[in-house]
Symmetry: C2
Subunit: 290 residues, 2 copies
């Protein structure tokens, strides 16, 4: 009997799904087990916790993680999983493959817009392309962190220009428990409020846009265009027209970003665009069948 | 006999000059005593060290620091200095006043382009304007950190586009002890290489530009234009045509930035531009005479 655990190992959480005979039998989420974000010890502890909860009597593990760029990266992750599932077959993939598979594809372009942003793709010849994924200090255009930071910058620009607090700034200040835009500077640099906190503030941009705030709508459209531009570069390098699968928290939920993304790609002649609706870990089932 | 210590309390160092009867008698540099960057305890320890070296038998202290925006900010800094110079008259000012004074002015616009960037100005009615100064995560356009980060982004963009390593990237990789642009991502996010390290990498942009590398020249011009744009906004708010004093490590030393800055301000009708040549702490003497 095939018992598969699919793992989606992200920067802020690790999501596992247990499949028994191809059906979802259990599902658990623990903290990040990505060694790009936490120590190997912490990653191992999170994986141990996950398998304790979801069951370690498995025949197969398919694990997708960001930053699996070399066989050595894959080997290190396999070494963390091996002691937890002694006899299982372990298959490590880049998380873009998980996203494509969850979208129903083996090749194409995966666009991740969550806390951060990145684009990876692969074609039928096995060639890969990577665009972005430079991290929050260098890029992450179109991500939740980027949207949260741009909301702060919007508020500070208005403050510098002596303009009154507008709807986006008001939502942001209330959300952060602050009284004046000036206080955003210290809070943004505070060690107690990291990139996950600021990615969470992206929700105010969505709320303000839904209420008709034009600058917020413009930010969401800019996010969609930035993500589309990265996808277009990947498609060009791989010589494929798609499919392009948009995933991640922003990608799956922020409708104005999706609209701008799809529209910008259509302008570039890329019309096969899918918004991911399944959790990436669901892709493990398809990858097992390959 | 007037014995004055002028203090320039910056984010990375504290520079003190001892003036006896208006002449420079001693000069010392210690670590940052700016409570926006270090704890009050650390700031106090640096100031204690500075006065131990430069002499605490003084009649006057004029201290300029970034972030002195309210009387409360000034009082807190005064409290750190008071125990070190019991009987001296202590005068606390925003560091923009120190820069204007070092440039020979009481009012005008001070543009600081060092590790970070910021613009402050004041007019003869005592009105103040502040533009930028949002810190490295939110702004700092035209600063050393900004130039270092843009050099990294330039290198990563070329990597994504599968272009060969160019002169700027080659200087940057050598300077960082790296072999491939890909490694810049992890190094940039490493806790061991902070914003001072990356501001230091701005030197490669200057070197490459001097050797004719066009993208580096374009970055320096963009830095100059960003700084000019902030100065223009401050001038507009204050209703004054200048003078505009450009200081900080980049402002005082990066000639292509100075040229672009001066030219962009001239286009906006602001022609009274001075490049600071004296250390800001020299401004203490002028401020004492007021």
């Amino acid at each position: 009997m095939t018992v598969l655990v699919g793992l989606d190992i992200g920067g802020s959480k690790t999501h596992g799904i247990r499949f028994v005979r191809g059906e979802v039998a259990a599902e658990r989420t623990v903290g990040s087990a990505n060694v790009q974000n936490v120590s190997a010890e912490a990653a191992g502890a999170q994986l141990e916790e996950l398998f304790a909860q979801i069951g370690s009597d498995v025949t197969h593990v398919v694990a997708g993680a960001g930053g699996i760029d070399t066989p050595e990266d894959a080997r290190r992750l396999e070494e963390l999983i091996r002691p937890l599932v002694r006899t299982a077959a372990i298959h490590i993939v880049h998380d873009s493959r998980l996203i494509l598979a969850a979208g129903g594809f083996d090749t194409g372009i995966a666009v991740i817009a969550g806390t951060g942003s990145a684009v990876w793709g692969c074609n039928q010849e096995g060639r890969e392309a990577r665009i972005g994924g430079w991290g929050y200090l260098l890029g992450d255009e179109g991500s939740g962190y980027w949207l949260g930071r741009e909301a702060v910058r919007h508020s500070l620009r208005r403050m510098n220009n002596r303009l009154p607090v507008d709807p986006l700034t008001e939502l942001l200040l209330t959300g952060c428990g602050l009284k004046a835009p000036e206080q955003l500077i210290a809070l943004f640099h505070s060690p107690h409020h990291g990139r996950h906190f600021w990615a969470g503030q992206a929700r105010h941009v969505l709320t303000a846009a839904a209420r008709g705030h034009e600058a917020s709508t413009a930010l969401l459209q800019q996010a969609g265009r930035s993500l589309a531009s990265m996808a277009k570069d990947a498609a060009g390098q791989l010589g494929i027209p798609g499919p392009v699968v948009l995933g991640g928290g922003i990608g799956m939920n922020a409708e104005p970003v999706q609209v701008a993304f799809t529209s910008a790609l259509a302008d570039a002649g890329l019309t096969d665009v899918r918004i991911l609706t399944a959790e990436p870990a669901m892709g493990a089932l398809r990858l097992l069948q390959d």
